[in-house]
């Protein structure tokens, strides 16, 4: 393993110190670990917090700032942060208008954020969790932990962050986030695995002439392994998996502020259809050159034109990675006026910046 690091135990701490030195507009707390807007004390708005394992750069610290996240809780590499971390972070950011946790649907993240929400609600800090479960590589939710949260996360953070900035209430933010989730679909593939510093070697072995289709963002093997093929073919597999995905229904848990407990609700994502207007993310998983992402965009754009899917906005780059994995994921989020307005709103974070 070759990495630009010192001691493995200090990696996250030192990288956060680097962030602190580079971004005086952020405040970095090291124990417990969280990253928060330096101007958070003066805010009067719903607080939007995300978090998850480290290694999905620039998530989430890179998305903290005006118009996006108020704070982020980084866990160890690929490991969910802990409830006490989220609790302290939310308490530091909270300014009386409630807390919305944006949670990627992984068993660990879900459970830790649920515990944090329980703790905060018990303290009288109104907290709601919204899940992102957009990865169509996971087919059913009955025999699995449900679809993983991947690329839609970035888009949701931008949109809901802007809505909170615009004065949306906690309920309205949660409703918008839930809508974005039901409108979002992603699919990824990997050419190589990645190396977690603590492990020191790739998570899985893969031949020079094989690729993994349907991977998430943790260097885990995907749905299936196929012979390496052309950019067009790969793009076609990913794009069709997204566009042809049917209705997706699952049970999710939502905090009921009335009863003070979780309630299970059924939740459905309608399939995409001709004429839909999309925000598209063509995402590099870490080591894929930007030029190759443009190669992917070319073919995806062609397929979308064929199917009368309209790409209204797009970002192309490494926005949610799996450390140094080589691969790509495509995310599409259906838009409407509300979503588009908040997507276009100004944002100023280390990793996403426009309009200011």
């Amino acid at each position: 393993m070759k990495k630009l690091i010192n001691n493995i135990e200090d990696v996250i701490t030192e990288q956060m110190q680097g962030m602190a030195a580079a971004h005086p507009e952020l405040k970095i707390n090291l124990d417990p670990k969280f990253i928060i807007r330096a101007d958070s004390d003066s805010q009067k708005k719903v607080v939007i917090i995300s978090g998850g394992g480290s290694g999905h750069e620039p998530m989430h610290g890179g998305y903290v700032g005006k118009g996006m996240l108020d704070a982020a809780c980084p866990g160890e590499v690929f490991t969910s942060p802990t409830p006490d971390q989220m609790f302290e972070c939310a308490k530091a950011a909270h300014n009386g208008h409630g807390v919305l946790f944006l949670v990627k649907n992984y068993t660990g993240d879900v459970m830790n954020f649920e515990m944090a929400a329980e703790m905060l609600n018990a303290e009288g800090i109104k907290t709601q969790n919204v899940l992102i479960d957009d990865d169509v590589a996971v087919k059913d939710s009955l025999y699995t932990a449900g679809r993983r949260g991947v690329g839609t996360t970035v888009i949701m953070e931008k949109i809901v962050g802007a809505a909170a900035e615009a004065g949306y209430s906690l309920e309205a933010c949660a409703k918008l986030a839930t809508k974005v989730n039901s409108y979002g679909r992603s699919m990824g593939m990997a050419l190589t695995s990645c190396i977690v510093p603590a492990a020191g070697k790739p998570n899985f072995d893969i031949d020079e002439n094989e690729i993994e289709i349907g991977v998430g963002i943790h260097g885990e093997p995907g749905r299936k392994r196929i012979p390496h093929t052309s950019c067009d073919e790969i793009t076609s597999i990913l794009t069709h998996a997204i566009l042809d995905d049917g209705v997706y229904t699952r049970q999710i848990r939502e905090w009921d502020h009335g009863t003070g407990n979780w309630k299970e609700i059924e939740f459905t994502s309608p399939p995409f259809k001709s004429g839909d207007k999309m925000i598209v993310l063509v995402n590099g998983l870490g080591s894929t050159p930007l030029s190759e992402l443009y190669g992917v965009y070319r073919k995806m754009h062609e397929i979308c034109e064929d199917k009368n899917i309209v790409i209204t906005r797009k970002i192309i780059g490494s926005y949610i990675t799996a450390l140094d994995m080589q691969g790509v994921s495509i995310t599409m989020v259906k838009t409407d006026d509300e979503i588009l307005k908040f997507w276009d709103a100004p944002v100023k974070t280390p990793a996403l910046r426009w309009g200011v």
Partner: protein, 212 residues
């Protein structure tokens, strides 16, 4: 041995910390095959924190408080799936034995069951889903049975370790339905679940703790 004493609990936590540290690479390897290759690190991180608290635990006679502190320590240091699950287990275990300074077999069985129920509620896994529940739930059942058998702790713990080992191995042919491994569908077959393995190791430490 008729009751489980303070020193046994301290020994248990100590031996569990050591075993998990020794098996760090093994657990991580299991997790790398059908998960994300961190279970060994996660368990080591959590139980190192527990190990650092052994002195503090020694000075506290309230076993309920010790177990709850142990649970909170795991929750706040592990993260991932195993953090809240093992954390909940020990937290709920502690809730069942508040202020006790030693445990009868009945106490132990009740607390263990409460712990397992906590894990089930938090993670919503059932036996056969290829998780730590595959080890913990049968052990809880075995413990309940043992109550009528009037056996010693030695015999009971020796029994549950055997049961745990069998359950752990029984996860190999299963298709995972919870946790990360579930994403692999049929590709998860043929691999032993990491969390079931760490559960087995923790129970083995319990047995060893009362042998010494």
């Amino acid at each position: 041995m008729k009751t489980l004493q303070h020193k046994h609990i301290i020994k248990w936590f100590e031996l569990a910390s050591l075993t998990l540290r020794e098996n760090k690479d093994y657990l991580t390897k299991l997790d790398s095959e059908i998960g994300d290759a961190d279970h060994g690190f996660n368990m080591e991180r959590g139980f190192n924190k527990v190990h650092n608290k052994l002195e503090e635990f020694s000075l506290n006679t309230d076993l309920g408080a010790i177990f709850k502190n142990m649970g909170m320590t795991l929750i706040s240091s592990i993260g991932g799936a195993s953090g809240p699950l093992y954390g909940t287990f020990f937290l709920q275990f502690g809730m069942a034995i508040v202020t006790k300074t030693e445990l009868s077999l009945q106490d132990f069985v009740t607390a263990f069951e409460k712990g397992v129920n906590g894990v089930k509620l938090r993670g919503r896994a059932s036996v056969g889903d290829k998780t730590m529940i595959d080890v913990l739930a049968p052990v809880a059942d075995r413990l309940k049975e043992s109550l009528s058998e009037n056996n010693t702790f030695e015999k009971v713990f020796s029994d549950i370790v055997k049961s745990a080992e069998k359950s752990m191995k029984s996860t190999v042919p299963l298709i995972a339905k919870k946790g990360r491994a579930s994403y692999l569908g049929a590709r998860s077959v043929g691999h032993q679940d990491a969390g079931a393995t760490s559960s087995y190791l923790i129970l083995k430490s319990l047995k060893e703790a009362i042998e010494e």
